[in-house]
């Protein structure tokens, strides 16, 4: 039966040299596959493990192309000579049908490889309270979509093989089935409704919740190409601003006459006390930027002329995250995530999440936005 299966690749059983007999051909294909696998694995591995320079990439590609070329050229010459003898070599339809299933297998393995090898490179556990909910939602969405993905791709490619053209077979004239249509409309609708309700709930909890009265307010100011951050001083209120006041000595355009602003602090790194809600106010100087802190599951566009904000609670200190990730150099980072010009890729600010006492210490060391000769001692008691 196996022989028949293999022979069905060929239109005519021929007296061929051993290499081109079904068994030989299978062996050839097997060797080729082995060769590819042996070459491919280090290439894939190389893709995720740091190496120097170009690696073996170009050589690999050239070797591959050369190999395929040789095989194809050989086959073409051979099939041309066969055709001139009136013999068709390959049942291309069957070749393609088998390739469909072969592709499916490789594809599923490829997808699996991603999940096995690459998941560890994606974000660690959420560093914020709402992020835990988000990750849960992501997980649910993932399992639903991967199930649908697997089912539909398997059906697609196996139908391609199973129902390949056979001489004398007649396709089934099956134009409609209202019941089936009904089910596969309603079932996805129900599943998606569940996802939507879940999603709107979480979205509301994140964006449509009143910030707590004692939330830590700070302002993030985006410009081409960096960030500036300002904390309220002892009064807990951020001073007013006007873009027309922006100058070399007043880069954020804070109103000096506003008493609320006189004690505001300019910080070089965002530092947040753990487990305290934060209301991050956002302003941009020139074009649209976006404050993106993926570890906290936080993102909000920063728009000139339209202040925005994001409310969240950090729950994992930097030190804790270093332990969790096993990377002692881990730091939280703020990136710009809306195209804003040449150095869009280089707008970075460090974010630290620390304990309350560390936060108080840090805060006391911060200078005020408007430079004053004496250190801001009174801020030691500020919250």
């Amino acid at each position: 039966m196996k022989k028949a299966f293999l022979n069905s690749f060929f239109m005519n059983r021929l007296h061929l040299p051993a290499l081109f007999q079904p068994r030989g051909f299978t062996a050839l294909v097997g060797v080729l596959a082995l060769f590819l696998a042996v070459l491919a694995e280090p290439a894939m591995a190389q893709a995720v493990a740091p190496t120097e320079g170009f690696g073996d990439g170009p050589k690999l590609v050239i070797a591959l192309i050369a190999l395929v070329w040789v095989i194809l050229a050989g086959l073409k010459t051979f099939s041309a000579s066969m055709r001139s003898q009136g013999v068709r070599l390959f049942n291309w339809n069957k070749v393609n049908a088998v390739l469909m299933v072969f592709f499916l297998v490789v594809f599923m393995l490829f997808v699996l490889w991603h999940f096995l090898k690459l998941m560890k490179f994606t974000l660690p556990v959420s560093a914020s309270a709402h992020g835990v909910e988000l990750d849960g939602m992501l997980s649910v969405t993932f399992w639903i979509t991967i199930a649908v993905f697997a089912l539909t791709q398997v059906l697609l490619f196996s139908f391609a093989l199973a129902y390949r053209y056979k001489e004398g077979r007649k396709a089934l004239f099956y134009a409609d089935n209202h019941q089936l249509e009904f089910y596969w409309t309603v079932v996805p609708a129900i599943v998606l409704t569940v996802l939507v309700l879940y999603g709107t709930k979480i979205w509301r909890e994140i964006t449509q919740v009143q910030p707590a009265k004692d939330a830590l307010k700070f302002e993030l100011f985006a410009y081409q190409f960096g960030w500036q951050a300002r904390y309220p001083g002892a009064d807990g209120v951020l001073g007013g601003h006007d873009f027309r006041l922006i100058s070399a000595t007043n880069s954020m355009g804070i109103e000096e006459t506003d008493s609320a602003g006189r004690d505001d602090l300019l910080v070089s790194e965002i530092t947040l006390p753990v487990n305290r809600p934060v209301l991050m106010k956002l302003r941009a100087r020139d074009v649209i930027h976006s404050a993106y802190m993926p570890h906290f599951r936080v993102q909000m566009n920063v728009v000139p002329g339209m202040p925005t904000q994001f409310y969240f609670t950090p729950t994992v200190t930097t030190k804790q995250m270093q332990e969790i990730t096993g990377n002692s150099n881990f730091v939280y980072e703020l990136a710009c995530n809306k195209i804003c010009g040449a150095a869009h890729f280089n707008m970075r600010m460090k974010v630290n999440v620390v304990t309350d006492t560390e936060y108080a210490t840090w805060l006391s060391k911060q200078r005020t936005y408007f430079r004053r000769p004496e250190p801001a001692q009174e801020l030691l008691s500020a919250r």
Binding site: F157, F173, P188, L192
Partner: protein, 653 residues
């Protein structure tokens, strides 16, 4: 044989060398054609289709080339390439890509691909080629407007490509060109002359697209041959119809967004600008709203992606049915889902704007509507699967690409469920997850649809067949490459790697992706190289391809009843009348496994006449059988499933 020698100038519509210049009894007996009226300022829909196709192919090559340049930067950020400086001059100084130019490349790549390749090149080609043929008309409602539409598109392309050579650089604010970045030359140099040229080019493009769309709608509604009821139109025509309606309704809003942007850029208004301090000065513009632009842009932007996708789905429906030798499953549901997708596409635009700072309540609304639009899309996928089931599938290159469309549509569509969820979008917006999503579901699925269409209708365009084996090779290399390039990007996005980044060296958490980027770039090079096989096949077969028979695929639709040599006016005599729908493949009782739409019932054996009914398993057939003495019980879903399992051999009777 034509003795005219044409240079291979793809941007001028020149036909095939095998094109017979003599026109037969075309029913008009009018104008004598010169080289200019036949090949350049042609008013014939078939020639215009080829003009669009060749222009689209050229633009695709250019856009792919642009992507290779920036993939070079992303894959090898630490290397210098001296030839870059030779090629790009100032923009490639020191063998490294200039960061401003990187953004320009990304912008032009997106613009060219979305508009010039996948709207004009896909819709323009196949709507023009197939609508008159498949509805039974001699040409479009206004051939003159049709010609104008192509030449406006040509002019638009020239201007857009010219912007690549401008000293201050092409537009660099992303294909979405949000102000203030796109309004202020001080923000990025490309927002100077480059952006002005972009806007002029797009205004012309919009005019061209509108002319085309109006023509398509008019032809479909007004010029169908007798017997061609709307419910007998092939799904290709339905998809072009819906696409054209979307275009007519949404492109003008892009025009309004562009008009206001032009005023902001050149006349000092403040529609989109407010409270900006840039290049050392506080601008006097106040009172504008950048979000306004985003609303207006995405009001087009979202229907635009369906304008790109629906023709591909229409072509796929036709190609799968023809090559599986089965009717498309659920014709009415397919039409309904096209209409549903069209309607819904207008009310979901906000899902591109979840984190723009717009009112979060709107986020709820757009999230709900976006997940609703997933339903008709799912229905289409299931219908494709059911069409393949128990078919007798011929793997022509067109069929391979059509199956590829379904696979890519599934993969890309499912990731849309993540992004349509506003909460999940918080961490995924503007990351590589989005890049992966739209490249798979819109870019690749539509590109595959376009290629499937070219392979399937090449005999109709050029009277020759494309080489199949090169087609197989082209398909498998491209299909594999597409997944190799874009699948890993999902994970980069899940890790929070932003898009439109020149390099990833600035951030600790992004550096681990450097080597994956190299892998992606290599795969992208392979993907582009594979297209060269197609180009070779395409141009070689114009002259040396096997001469095509009149109906090489044994298909039912009207275009296959026209002569191979292609006449002005399409049919040599009267236009045939239509007597049936286009999906009578493997009809029980019929002498062949296909029945042309022009065949009346009288010409068929008794068993094959009448309304199409399923051989088995339709509700009606089951109830019918229930009336006979040896009755099966009346169909219930469990019986239905039982019989289904029996049919596919998973259960004994």
């Amino acid at each position: 044989m034509s003795t005219l020698a044409h240079s291979h100038d793809p941007s001028h519509g020149h036909g095939s060398h095998a094109h017979d210049p003599a026109h037969g009894h075309d029913g008009h007996g009018h104008h004598k054609e010169t080289f200019i009226t036949k090949y350049i300022f042609s008013q014939d829909h078939k020639m215009i289709a080829k003009q669009y196709l060749l222009s689209g192919m050229l633009m695709a090559l250019i856009a792919a080339g642009l992507s290779l340049l920036f993939r070079l930067q992303l894959g090898w950020p630490d290397r210098t390439f001296p030839w870059l400086e030779t090629l790009l001059g100032e923009w490639g100084k020191g063998g490294r890509l200039d960061p401003n130019f990187y953004l320009a490349l990304v912008t032009l790549h997106g613009t060219l691909m979305v508009f010039f390749v996948l709207t004009a090149g896909l819709s323009g080609t196949f709507s023009n080629l197939l609508i008159p043929y498949q509805v039974g008309a001699r040409d479009m409602a206004s051939p003159f407007l049709n010609m104008l539409s192509y030449w406006l598109f040509f002019l638009s392309s020239v201007i857009m490509l010219a912007s690549l050579f401008v000293e201050s650089g092409p537009a660099s604010a992303g294909w979405t060109i949000y102000p203030p970045l796109s309004a202020l030359p001080q923000a990025v140099p490309g927002s100077g002359l480059g952006m002005t040229l972009w806007l002029i080019s797009m205004v012309l493009f919009i005019a061209s697209a509108l002319m085309g769309a109006l023509n398509y709608i008019t032809t479909i509604l007004n010029m169908r041959t007798p017997g061609m009821k709307m419910t007998r139109m092939p799904l290709t025509v339905w998809s072009f119809f819906c696409t054209a309606i979307l275009g007519v309704l949404s492109f003008p809003v892009l025009l309004s967004a562009a008009v206001l942007l032009v005023f902001d850029r050149s006349f000092g208004t403040s529609f989109y600008l407010s409270e900006i301090y840039i290049a050392g000065e506080a601008l006097t513009r106040t009172g504008g709203s950048p979000i306004l632009f985003q609303h207006l842009f995405w009001f087009l932007g979202h229907p635009e992606v369906y304008i790109v996708l629906m023709p591909a789905l229409g072509l796929t429906s036709e190609i799968i049915a023809t090559n599986a030798r089965k009717p498309i499953f659920g014709y009415r549901a397919m039409v309904g889902s096209l209409l549903g997708i069209s309607f819904l596409s207008f009310i979901v635009w906000g899902h591109h704007m979840f984190i723009t700072g717009m009112n979060p309540f709107l986020g709820n609304v757009f999230m709900i509507l976006t997940l609703v639009i997933a339903v008709p899309s799912a229905v289409k996928v299931f219908n494709y699967l059911a069409t393949l089931w128990r078919g007798n599938i011929r793997f022509t290159p067109a069929m391979l690409f059509a199956i590829g469309v379904v696979s890519l549509f599934i993969s890309g569509g499912l990731t849309g469920i993540y992004l349509g969820n506003a909460a999940l979008d918080i961490n995924l917006h503007d990351t590589y997850f989005v890049v992966a999503h739209f490249h798979i579901v819109m870019g690749s699925a539509s590109m595959f649809g376009m290629l499937a269409g070219v392979y399937h209708w090449y005999p109709k365009m050029y009277g020759r067949m494309l080489d199949e084996k090169l087609g197989y090779l082209h398909f498998w290399l491209t299909f594999a490459s597409v997944y190799l390039v874009f699948f890993p990007m999902h994970f980069m996005g899940l890790d929070g790697v932003p898009r439109r980044y020149y390099q990833f060296t600035g951030f600790e958490f992004m550096t681990e992706w450097m080597d994956m980027n190299r892998f992606i770039s290599v795969s992208a090079i392979m993907a582009t190289a594979a297209q060269l096989i197609f180009f070779y096949n395409f141009f070689r077969s114009i002259r040396y391809g096997r001469v095509a028979p009149q109906n090489p695929w044994n298909a039912n639709t009207l275009e296959w009843t026209t002569p191979v040599e292609r006449l002005h006016g399409n049919w040599p005599g009267e236009i045939p009348h239509v007597h049936r729908w286009p999906y009578d493949y493997s009809r029980p009782g019929a002498p062949q496994d296909f029945i042309l739409q022009t065949v009346p019932d009288e010409d068929l054996p008794l068993a094959a006449r009448g309304r199409p009914t399923n051989e088995a398993l339709s509700g009606a057939a089951v109830t019918e059988r229930a009336k006979t003495p040896s009755a099966q019980p009346v169909a219930s879903s469990s019986v239905f499933i039982a019989r289904l399992l029996h049919r596919i051999g998973l259960r004994r009777a």
